[in-house]
Symmetry: C2
Subunit: 237 residues, 2 copies
Amino acid sequence: MSDLFEPLNDYPAYRQIANQIEERIVARSLQVGDPLPSETDLARQFGVNRSTVREAIRELEIQGLLGRERGEKRLRVTRPKPQDVSDGVSRALALHDVTFSDLWEAMMAMEPAAAQYAALRRTPGQLQVLSSAAARCKHREADTIEAVAAVVDFFTAVAEASGNQVLALSQAPLNALLSPTLTRMIDHLPQARARIVEAQGKIIAAIKARKSDQARTWMEKHIRDFKRGHELEVRAG
Amino acid sequence: MSDLFEPLNDYPAYRQIANQIEERIVARSLQVGDPLPSETDLARQFGVNRSTVREAIRELEIQGLLGRERGEKRLRVTRPKPQDVSDGVSRALALHDVTFSDLWEAMMAMEPAAAQYAALRRTPGQLQVLSSAAARCKHREADTIEAVAAVVDFFTAVAEASGNQVLALSQAPLNALLSPTLTRMIDHLPQARARIVEAQGKIIAAIKARKSDQARTWMEKHIRDFKRGHELEVRAG
DNA sequence: CGTGGCAATATTGTCCGACAGTCCGATTAT
DNA sequence: ATAATCGGACTGTCGGACAATATTGCCACG
């Protein structure tokens, strides 16, 4: 059975400080863009040493809650960028040894939805980005690495165009996981590239024409194709 | 147009060190469970001061790549726990001021899929957890806070039962975002609780009977209901 | 031979003080 | 007004220090 008493967790000072600052940020008492007081000043305010403050700041910085403009010295409150967040998630997933099947099922849930909303809400600019990614994938001289990057960019662009930050942020981590499999697929299966390019074309056309159902359907087919490709690739070794 | 030269980014030492250690971990050269060398030792190996090493370690610790058992002094390599990861994501999303609509669309994409796979793969134990969450939501004396927690637990349990780590991890951040809205809904709409309980019952029955299509369908209805509830609540506000 | 207890050691959390490099703001020179 | 310059402020990094506590090795004892 469980213990009667919880051990009292006397968190180290650097963690308490990090938490206090974090609270201020999420409570908007520190607004995005506001500069943080200097380390020396914070150390004085919290009554600890500057080294301790620095350890606390590192935590918030890595989470993307604090950051600085290029070449700037003082830290400012920032919104975590999708990239920051998604990196952490995909690394976590990678360490959990997710299977392609897990990844595929998740993509199958998110990407068609993203495509559907993209068809409804895309802006001309986003359409442009989408086409450019597809073009880079189609380009004859593109090597595997570039092609894979283009495919990832395509998915990112669709998610972006969906105008839904939650979908975009949830989808982003999947990209990093997709890359290795995709690389093998494109390398080993001659027809893979062509099929991807074709699917992207259909999806873009649907998004452009604002046909959300078609966009969803084509994206579903596209993702299903990945599964077939993966199975073929595994069999071919 | 783009600049001719990239600014040279001379990353601070603590970041380089963090990256090196991180690489070792993702490359599995440092295995989960392995103890990290002591700070002093690391400082010697990297040829930097211990303070610098500590700042690097903080980054990895917050990401869940390093951690220690309770009462332990030495750090060990750990797998990021879903909770760690999802906390960061939901905080990021919160700071991006996601709308309920965004959240809802993402839930609509993920939860039905999770329910579907849960019906196929749930274990008896997971079924048990699911029922317990539903029971806690149903319980008459449960106040709003408890009920909301139970609803969140229900979603978590479904995702868990899906046997898909990617879906589970992608879904987790949504829960924290859902809570505030859900709280208002349950507080202001008398019928909300009952409808939720009913839907949960249907979903559990379908998952138990391994009817994946029904599980998906009921979950879709359940989520749709949230949107209606939210609209009503806003109007009644 | 295993084992519990104790002392020596190692390690972490925190502090202090210091210094070079660099960014920023103000002042001065053009 | 604009440009060059200068001093102060701030960060990144270093070295050393100390208390508290986890870990380890050792030894006596059953």
